[in-house]
């Protein structure tokens, strides 16, 4: 789960507003893939690391899109930041997610961390700590599908699918077909029933 204040989108049929349609999501992922290729000069030495669970799915989609344009896919993995979070003691112990670093490792790689929503930046901070335990990348970049603002740490994304100004108590629902059955991004207003 990428951000504290986002609800569980699975099976949600809430009174919510569509921000991105399924087609928008596909287009946005393709755009980010192009940006990564451009900015990393042909994805040489790039490793995509998703932040579970939807960041991992997005990382796989990005890799597939890159393969389509470049002919080969960069290695994909995932790193669960939970064990490195600074807010563990504020809630009951939570379930851990997948950590799978590609066999090639991350030493001297250009790691692109991938998540669905960027908000406070605390998850990314924890993910950076977790990542550093697995090696020393040449550089780390960040790709997110949605940046909704409200940063609490000096962290910014290198690749942003869509910037969405939100109120703190609103929720961003990212739906991905691998998990949720269909693609889309929706904004749920405060007080809406779950």
């Amino acid at each position: 789960m990428a951000d504290d204040r986002r609800g569980d989108p699975a099976g949600a049929t809430p009174p919510s507003r569509e921000l991105l349609s399924a087609a928008d999501v596909t287009r946005t992922i393709a755009r980010i893939a192009h940006q990564i290729i451009e900015k990393t000069a042909g994805v040489e030495g790039v490793v995509l690391i998703g932040i579970p669970t939807r960041g991992t799915v997005l990382a796989a989609r990005l890799a597939a899109a890159i393969a389509e344009f470049e002919g080969s896919a960069p290695p994909v993995g995932s790193v669960d930041p939970t064990l490195y979070r600074d807010d563990l003691r504020r809630r009951p112990a939570r379930a851990l997610e997948d950590t799978a670093v590609p066999d090639t490792g991350v030493d001297d790689a250009l790691v692109v961390l991938v998540d669905d929503v960027l908000m406070s930046g605390r998850t990314v901070r924890a993910a950076l700590d977790a990542l550093s335990e697995h090696g020393r990348p040449r550089a780390v970049q960040l790709a997110v599908l949605v940046d909704r603002g409200h940063r609490e740490l000096p962290i910014r994304a290198d690749y942003v699918g869509k910037n969405v100004p939100t109120a703190r108590d609103e929720q961003i629902l990212v739906l991905l077909s691998e998990i949720d059955g269909s693609d889309g991004v929706r904004l749920r207003r405060a007080g809406a029933d779950a």
């Binding site: 490195y84 003691r89 112990a93 939570r94 670093v101 697995h134």
Partner: protein, 314 residues
Amino acid sequence: MKHLLSVSDLDAAAATGVLDTADRLKQALLGREVRKLPTLRGRTVITMFYEDSTRTRVSFEIAGKWMSADTVNVSAKGSSVSKGESLRDTSLTLSAMGADCVIVRHPASGAAHRLAGWVDRDHATTGTHTSVVNAGDGTHEHPTQALLDAATLRDRLGGIAGRRIGIVGDVLHSRVARSNVLLLATLGADVVLVAPPTLLPTGVEEWPCRVAAELDAELPALDAVMMLRVQAERMHGSFFPSAREYAIGYGLSADRAALLPDHAVVLHPGPMVRGMEIAPSVADSPSAAILAQVSNGVHVRMAVLYHLLAGAPE
């Protein structure tokens, strides 16, 4: 989860949750040079062992250290315990010193339950919410051993539900057997106990398992067989005539191991009496998961500490 005293504290979902966490922790540490997670930084974990058990104590200690907890080992020898201090006073003292977790091994059944009761009752006075982990109490339970056995079986068999698992030997005096029968049954396994009648407790017929007398008849249908330790002191208590006769009836010889299906796993909680309980060739064969049990033990105990200590106190 506040304490882990018995596997009956865990329903199937909670037990699976612990096993899943153990798998994730193993993943998170895989291939790393520095096996250290910051998760329990600043938490104090005390192991208090009133019986010698290097294996279990070290496993808990490593689990705590890999999670960055401060681990302190108290042994009954050389502490105020040997000066006649009661278990209650010792545990409250440790709680008042700020122990977030006390891991206790004690020869009396129910000692961990009592300890949890005392630290809960007096937490306002000690100022600490102390979690208690039962690391083996008398002939009652050893929940983390059952969890690590379940983790090992899940690894090797791909699951536990519907698998048939034999537990062989001194069930009467075995806390490992009690915890395993309960946990494996909770997870949907079909458990069979095989032992001479003198080493089965009165009342075993109410346990969630079957009891069989003939080991050879059970072996071909088992997915796993767990050989229990026969404690040396039992050999002189007329529970069975001789080590030789025990080995003939209940030891896992090479011939007997050959009756197991190819995929079957052989477990032993250790320390093993080679020859009597298990033939050396069987203990060292690929079907034996005895060392996997040991390494899974660390991850399972990390998972238990994670569930007890990482989140907000209950």
